[in-house]
């Protein structure tokens, strides 16, 4: 038996030497490579996502019947913890991870700005997330009985926010300063632009969350725990994060992912690109919600500004929908799973913002219970998860170097659409109970549907991981630099997975779609 069956020189498979999707521990811990950091964010966020959606399902399941499934304290904490967790442990790091990986490639940079800070941010986030989960299990949810556990939760959330902001600074600085010559700000790819908008909104609003947490923590530790740290008042200070309009801020990068995928998979340049850029920017501006704090401003929902923002937020989404429809009509849509996921993401986004507009209409009395707002939360976060899934399906071949199994993605189109729509819409219907008494009979049935929806979203998160791993598997066909064949932006000009330093030569860009210029 020879040591090798084939001569070493014939082993030209690039992926045999290139880092696989799960790098070895040594490279992980020491790596300041934006690709390793981004991959790690994405995988960890998706694993947290499975747990987060299961927790959402459990807290809804508690409401079914007589409500004896969990203790009422545990159910409330689980519901609140899963809302905060789904935002800060799942959706934000999912987009931030994709951005850490993709934005430097899209702008033609060799690295992310401050690579070691980006790595430090990821590890701090991961550590903070672990502490947050442990603290939640030892009665540390908001309003929990054990003050020390609650302090730990608050502290870990503070650490998570600082880490996510540091990671965002790295991505934004990359997009601002490291763009390749000729790439003016209106020529950056849609995902990079949406990350600039979304990241800027995070930079302006998440520090306010940090201020809230700081006050709770100081009052718990040094004050009398009578004002900010008082158990029943804690969640009211941070709940704005999970409510309209702030909830939209976590969806903004998803809009750019959708636009990038639609452009590539229809093979046409996006028409009226400036209008789409404006729509993403406008949606970002309309998502600044740090001022609508329940604890400080209980009547914010009667504020004309809040109602106007909620209603107007529908318009940018309609603009984007129009842009996508135009691209579908003028191009040749290729029926691959990222396109399907992008479309359902936009569909769930539309449902989410329409639900948000309805929520703002006072005569409908949808704010008298939490059901409708919780339904909207699931719709919006489902849309964000679908956008993340679409992005991972779309850039998966770039990240792994192998073609992902498209059937997994296609199955996920159904799973995520079902999960988001069932989980969200059922609770939205429940929100109408105050208007229609007959709905009370359907109360349990609607909750069962919602639980099923949340379980499907957990399953969808798992399928995204499976899809990504299928691309990293040895048997996956080699992706090549431009696996979709119609890539328009610079990330499709470098090898898959990109080597250290990404690009051999500095690209010069003359339009938003440099690769199409190359062919012309």
């Amino acid at each position: 038996m020879a040591l090798t069956d084939t001569r070493p020189e014939t082993g030209t498979d690039a992926r045999a030497v290139a880092p696989s999707v799960v790098p070895s521990p040594l490279t992980i811990f020491g790596s300041g490579d934006h690709k390793a950091v981004g991959t790690f964010y994405v995988l960890a966020a998706l694993i947290f996502g499975v747990a987060g959606w299961v927790a959402t399902a459990l807290s809804s399941a508690h409401e079914i019947g007589s409500g004896t499934f969990l203790s009422s304290m545990a159910a409330r904490q689980l519901g609140q913890t899963s809302q905060v967790g789904l935002i800060l442990l799942v959706i934000v790091p999912l987009f931030l991870g994709l951005a850490t990986y993709i934005v430097p490639l899209q702008v033609g940079a060799s690295t992310v700005a401050f690579p070691r800070a980006a790595a430090a941010a990821m590890w701090t986030w991961l550590l903070g997330s672990g502490v947050f989960i442990v603290a939640s299990f030892i009665d540390g949810g908001f309003g929990g009985d054990r003050t020390k556990s609650v302090s730990l939760t608050v502290l870990s959330l503070g650490g998570i926010i600082v880490a996510l902001l540091l990671g965002t600074v790295c991505v934004l600085t990359t997009a601002i300063t490291l763009r390749t010559p000729g790439m003016t700000l209106d020529r950056v790819p849609m995902f990079t632009f949406s990350m600039l908008v979304g990241g800027a909104i995070w930079m302006l609003t998440l520090p306010v969350m940090l201020a809230n947490l700081l006050l709770i923590w100081v009052d718990l530790r040094y004050g009398g725990a009578t004002v900010f740290g008082e158990a029943s008042l804690q969640f009211g200070q941070v709940s704005w994060l999970a409510h309209e309009p702030q909830i939209y801020a976590f969806l903004v990068p998803g809009l750019g992912i959708v636009a990038d995928i639609v452009a590539t998979l229809t093979g046409a340049r996006l028409a009226h690109r400036n209008v789409l850029l404006f729509a993403v920017g406008a949606f970002g501006v309309l998502s600044v919600g740090a001022w609508a704090q329940n604890a400080m401003y209980p009547n914010f929902a009667d504020d004309l500004l809040w109602q106007a923002m909620s209603v107007v937020a529908v318009l940018p989404i309609l603009l984007l929908l129009g842009g996508v429809a135009t691209a579908m009509k003028s191009g040749k849509p290729s029926l691959k799973s990222p396109l399907g996921l992008a479309v359902i993401s936009l569909l769930l986004t539309l449902l989410g913002v329409v639900a948000g507009a309805l929520l703002a209409i006072t005569p409908l009395e949808l704010r008298s219970t939490n059901a409708f707002a919780n339904g909207q939360f699931i719709l919006v976060l489902g849309a964000a998860l679908a956008a993340g899934a679409a992005g991972i399906g779309y850039w998966g071949p770039k990240m792994t170097g192998g073609l992902c199994v498209d059937a997994i993605g296609k199955l996920n189109v159904l799973v995520l659409l079902g999960g988001g729509a069932l989980g969200g819409l059922s609770l939205c219907v429940l929100g109408f109970t105050t208007r229609f008494n007959g709905l009370a009979d359907a109360y349990d049935a609607l909750l069962v549907v919602s639980v099923a929806g949340s379980v499907l979203l957990a399953l969808g998160s798992l399928l995204v991981i499976l899809g990504l791993l299928s691309g990293a598997h040895k048997s996956a066909p080699e992706a090549g630099a431009n696996p979709w064949g119609t890539g328009q932006t610079l990330e499709w000009a470098c090898a898959s997975p990109p080597p250290t330093g990404n690009f051999a030569d500095l690209a010069v860009v003359r339009s938003p779609e440099p690769l199409l210029d190359e062919e012309a």
Binding site: A113, L165, T173, L178, M203, L206, V208, Y222
Partner: protein, 196 residues
């Protein structure tokens, strides 16, 4: 797989990565205080509208120490800008002197804040006011210390000869964060110390 052949690159304009990053960090730090002071003002309006006095019985905030700190920090802006101007002219001696003075003025501000805390006779556990005032002024000290570390780090790099007239992004970035810290103090000065 053949990579796309891209046209030859023009000379690269060196990006000002550190300055932009520091600007984002300064904006985020500033927003923490916007949040804190917003909550402070909302809480104060509620109490005053209810007909009560904002500061609890027996507590007072003198103006002399806050004013001294404000003047100190304004002087530190001058010394910081002096350092930036000096390094831009390759005048290292002046740059070291100015950075050293800036750090000294920072230390003076920390000392004055802690002295002010002893004068206020405000118990943190007494309620809303104590928690808010100590959190905000304490957080500002944290921001000041971060800014001082940034300046000290850049001063050490300047001592190591890393900054010249052509390349002095580090000092500019540290100055940017320092100015944001002073702007935060201006907000605290007017909303906590002057108006009560």
């Amino acid at each position: 797989m053949t990579a796309h052949v891209l046209p030859p690159a023009p000379p690269v304009q060196r990006p000002r990565v550190l300055v932009v990053g520091a600007a984002f960090a300064a904006a985020a730090s500033f927003m923490v205080f916007i949040g804190l002071i917003g909550i402070y003002l909302a809480a104060r309006v509620d109490i005053i509208n209810a007909g009560a006095k904002w500061l609890p019985e027996g507590s007072k905030i003198p103006l002399q120490q806050p004013n001294t700190m404000f003047i100190t920090l304004i002087m530190s802006v001058v010394t910081m800008q002096w350092a930036v101007a000096a390094i831009a002219k390759n005048d290292r001696v002046n740059a070291y002197l100015a950075l050293g003075l800036t750090l000294m003025l920072g230390v003076a501000t920390i000392i004055m804040t802690t002295y002010l805390w002893t004068l206020m006779k405000l118990d943190i556990a007494s309620g809303l006011q104590g928690v808010l005032i100590y959190t905000i002024t304490g957080a500002h000290i944290v921001m000041l210390v971060v800014a001082m570390l940034f300046v000290a780090l850049m001063a050490l790099r300047a001592l190591g000869g890393q900054f010249t007239a052509r390349q002095h992004d580090g000092i500019t970035a540290a100055a940017l964060y320092w100015y944001a810290m002073v702007a935060v103090y201006a907000l605290i000065w007017i909303s906590i110390y002057v108006t009560k």
